[in-house]
């Protein structure tokens, strides 16, 4: 080593909307600290208008994404796992910094996140075979039920910065929905890095839109948004006064009968998921057709 | 079959019955067949042949509100000598312009190329028959020997097929010796079944050519659409003995597109249509890509846009 030490180039953490990385239209940001309260970065603080833009992006991307073959969607999700594995160390580091967990625990979480993409990649072309099927109606009719994505899903991600986030986003997009997700407010940086993974995983822009900032500020606008089809409140805080937020969001969603998934405090994200996170964002369509000559 | 055909044009209900009785087109199957044909690999001598043939089939087109005599003269010169550096390069088939510029085009090309004029309220077709016929007369008087008319899609889509038929008959009559190309505007017909029916309707009414598109509506010519039209002219000739030409237009950008269309002609309608008298390609920027590919064949090096002329 000679001369002065090299000064590192730091990354600007932005939103991920419509396949691009804009700053918040509001021009705001907030300080993100590590587990010991030291400054890590400034994250963009999304506004309701960012939420609106994200819904527009998600809606625009939805028909094309649902129109892909399930096989292709599965391959794209698997590609996300591949790209994430490649950036494994970065995620481990970010988890350690954000949550103050040890190397081992961080490894476990990142492994689980990558495997979760693989798990849902496999579901893309199987969910119809498990949740759909022929119905033996009493008459000369062919009758078949097939699941279809409900559309645009707005999500409040759980506080766990990465595994919870992927666990709520991956199942929704595996079946052809598009997502607007509000990342964990205290730990938004891994979410932004995840956006970078998705942007380089053949995932079309707008399929996943990641907002950082305050759920309490943005979620009400998404809950009442008439062009949102489903609302996932998994990460909404239910302790004490915060419980009202969940109720208000659900009530707002009721106006347009938006499908709602309630908060899930204390969920075990390391456990193998079941089918419920796939099925709740699906509509079942049943087709009748006469049989005759 | 020929007696059946004369009965088909006896009344509107007979005409409608005849058209809806044509075999259906299965979309997935048709597009699959076109996609398979698009995988044909045309190399070396076959490619050289195809590029020259494609150049000779181009109706070099300008149909803009901003067209001027100067623009048309430049285009006509290009149609005559697509590659000024290579005398072995064939000329295009025709220059295709609006009626008021037909005379300008004719003055440049003389009798060496055809002059095609759009007419009959191009591109919408929304005008009275009287106005349409007057426009056709204008165009032929100005020297156009080919008329590209567009059908009334509104009438077709609402089932007024007799009106469409009668209009084509009238325009054909107004054309006199000029050849009539009937534009179906397939992008607005929505289904391949409609493309097949409109093709037959136009041929029954006397079209010399059936043409896909005005170029003002997307999608314009696609490979499956051209294929369905080629099936129609093939079947029409088998039924009546009369051969009708096909002209895809709009949407052509690359030489590869053009060569794929030649493959489809070759394998679907047959080599009888591999001739500028029976197949045209309505395009403008396509010509330069054909020339770039042609130069690549000649020199072995990839060419660039500065080595072809801009009009």
């Amino acid at each position: 080593m000679s001369g002065s030490e090299r000064v590192e180039v730091r990354k600007t953490y932005k939103l991920y909307v419509g396949g691009a990385f804009p700053r918040s239209e509001s021009g705001r940001s907030y300080v993100v600290s590590d587990s010991r309260g030291r400054f890590l970065a400034n994250a963009a603080q999304a506004s309701r208008k960012d939420g609106r833009d994200a819904v527009v992006a998600a809606r625009k991307a939805q028909p094309g994404w649902a129109g892909r073959t399930p096989y292709n969607r599965g391959q794209v999700l698997y590609r996300a796992a591949e790209v994430m594995e490649d950036r494994r160390e970065q995620f481990v580091e970010q988890l350690r910094a954000a949550e103050g967990v040890g190397q081992r625990k961080a490894d476990t979480f990142v492994d689980a996140v990558i495997d979760r993409w693989v798990w849902y990649a496999g579901w893309a072309d199987k969910v119809a075979q498990v949740l759909g099927g022929a119905n033996p109606v009493a008459g000369p009719y062919f009758n078949l039920s097939v699941p279809e994505p409900t559309g645009v899903v707005a999500v409040v991600a759980p506080a766990g910065p990465l595994l919870g986030l992927v666990s709520v986003v991956a199942p929704a997009i595996a079946t052809g929905n598009t997502v607007v997700v509000i990342a964990s407010q205290p730990h938004p940086l891994p979410a932004v890095t995840l956006g970078e993974v998705l942007a380089t995983s053949d995932l079309p822009g707008g399929v996943v839109n990641i907002l950082t900032g305050s759920a309490a500020e943005i979620a009400p606008w998404l809950a009442s948004h008439r062009d949102v089809d489903a609302l996932d409140l998994t990460g909404v805080d239910v302790d004490g006064d915060a419980g009202e937020l969940a109720r208000d969001l659900e009530a707002a969603a009721a106006e347009t009968l938006t499908r709602v998934r309630r908060p899930e405090p204390g969920a075990d994200w390391l456990a193998t998921p079941g089918l419920d996170r796939l099925s709740w964002t699906l509509e079942t369509k049943t087709v009748w057709h006469p049989i005759g000559i | 079959m020929t007696t059946l055909l004369s009965e088909a044009t006896g009344s509107e209900s007979a005409l409608r019955r005849f058209l809806s009785g044509l075999p259906g087109v299965d979309q997935v199957g048709a597009e699959g067949r076109a996609a398979t044909l698009a995988t044909r690999s045309i190399k070396t001598t076959a490619k050289a042949y195809a590029l020259d043939l494609a150049i000779s089939m181009v109706d070099l087109t300008t149909l803009e509100g901003a067209d001027t005599p100067g623009k048309v003269r430049a285009l006509a010169a290009k149609a005559l000598r697509p590659d000024p550096t290579d005398p072995s390069c064939p000329a295009a088939a025709a220059v295709c312009v609006y009626p008021d510029l037909a005379a300008t085009a004719r003055a440049v090309v003389g009798d060496r190329l055809h002059v095609a004029s759009v007419a009959a309220a191009f591109p919408s077709g929304r005008s009275s028959l009287e106005v349409k016929l007057r426009e056709v007369a204008d165009a032929t008087a100005a020297g156009a020997d080919e008329i590209d008319m567009v059908i009334d899609r509104g009438a077709f889509l609402t089932g007024r097929v007799q009106q469409v038929f009668d209009e084509i008959v009238a325009v054909k009559q107004a054309c006199g010796p000029a050849h009539l190309k009937v534009i179906l505007e397939t992008g607005e017909l929505a289904t391949y079944d409609n493309v097949r029916r409109a093709s037959w309707l136009a041929m029954l009414a006397g079209a010399d050519f059936i043409k896909t598109s005005t170029g003002k509506v997307q999608p314009a010519a696609t490979l499956p659409v051209t294929m369905v039209m080629l099936e129609a002219v093939r079947d029409f000739r088998a039924a009546t003995g009369r051969q009708v030409g096909v002209k895809p237009a709009g949407g052509f950008r690359s030489a590869k597109d053009a060569v794929r269309h030649l493959v489809v002609i070759n394998e679907v309608a047959g080599p009888d249509w591999l001739d500028p008298d029976w197949f045209r390609i309505g395009a403008s920027s396509l010509l330069n890509d054909l020339l770039l590919q042609r130069q690549k064949m000649a020199t072995g090096a990839y060419s660039g846009p500065d080595y072809v002329s801009l009009d």
Binding site: W123, I291, I293 | -
Partner: protein
Amino acid sequence: MTGKTFEYAPAPESRAVVDLASSYGLFIGGEFTAGAGSATFKTINPATEEVLAEVTEAGEADVDRAVAAARRAYERVWGPMPGRERAKYLFRIARIVQERSRELAVAESLDNGKPIRESRDGDLPLVAAWFFYYAGWADKLEHAGLGTEPRALGVAGQVIPWNFPLMMLAWKIAPALATGNTVVLKPAETTPLTALLFAEICQQADLPAGVVNIVTGAGPTGQALVTHAGVDKVAFTGSTAVGRGIARSLAGTDKRLTLELGGKAANVVFDDAPLDQAVEGIVNGIFFNQGHVCCAGSRLLVQESVADEVLERLKARMTTLRVGDPLDKNTDVGAINSAAQLARIRTLSDTGDAEGAERWSAPCTLPDHGFWFAPTIFTGVTQAHRIAREEIFGPVLSVLTFRTPAEAVAKANNTPYGLSAGVWTEKGSRILWMAEQLRAGVVWANTFNKFDPASPFGGYKESGYGREGGRHGLAGYLR
């Protein structure tokens, strides 16, 4: 510029992408090893009769060794491994197949004689898709509707045919591995090469040793494998005669068996069919892969009112088929896979002439070397003709007619086979009625010869039992 012939210049795919060894051993326990004996056989390019490589003929001792390796791998590694980890190996294999697909396609066309267009656009994408699809099942078996605690069977002995060598390998190995079984696979003696290249892929994927074992050889090798006491499950694709023999030799054992055998499919064209697409479907149904397809639409049943028109269009279409060099990207119909198969096609076709059917072949020049048979149709065929009853397994179509849907069904079902059927009509309710009536494991409506890893495939009656593909394809490998 009025020349009217558009001759396609040769557009050969490069052979240089394939690096074949001059000889191959057996793939046992993760390594290529010599056979116990010295027996070898040559695999040739059926389009030229040129020798491609020398391959080891596995004897009983080799099969024994392979089964033992599979057993070890099953008990120590693959069986205990969690599904999500098995899945990742299968995903790896799928990706490597995608990466090496051009090389594998060329090797397949060299060894099998099929057109490169089909191996490139058909076989190889399906091979990768099959591994990708079943990879996803490995950790989801309890969701497959086959019981709450599905368990692997153990060691699978798999014998596959020569018509889709690598694709049949994928159909066999992918579900077996996904469900936690290990395999010993014997490719057909005329087409062993892509299976041996697949062994390399297993190495590149770091698949644990012994999970996949490839033993090459002919009938006796296959017989040794399926009757080996250490094999828990037998999966066979091939002729009905051999399948019947396997079923007989497994009688009284605990071995599980699935069979995918011959067919004599009816392709039924009604007068309201989309005719141009129906003609394509007829052509694809019988001339795809030189007619070496167990589910080929080898009996055309056409409604009498459109029979003449369909035949006229069919003949015109057949004249545009390009027969010749399998590696030419413009070839539609390649070489017959072997001299023996060519002899069989000729013999059966000759009975068509002898029994009074009318033969018509597409005009085409056949190469001097190699094994070739021009695309051929027989008209005036009835259910009493041998060519309407026996599987020809070549580019030969028997044309029959019918008057009513009921007659079409009666004729279509009048065969000991029941693998597939085709229906062409624009009327939806009739499609479904026909599908209901037809005794066949796959019914294609307004399409033909479509395959997908998500879709079960397999036959009724003497076309075998068990299904490959889809959720149902797991059942044959689980208890």
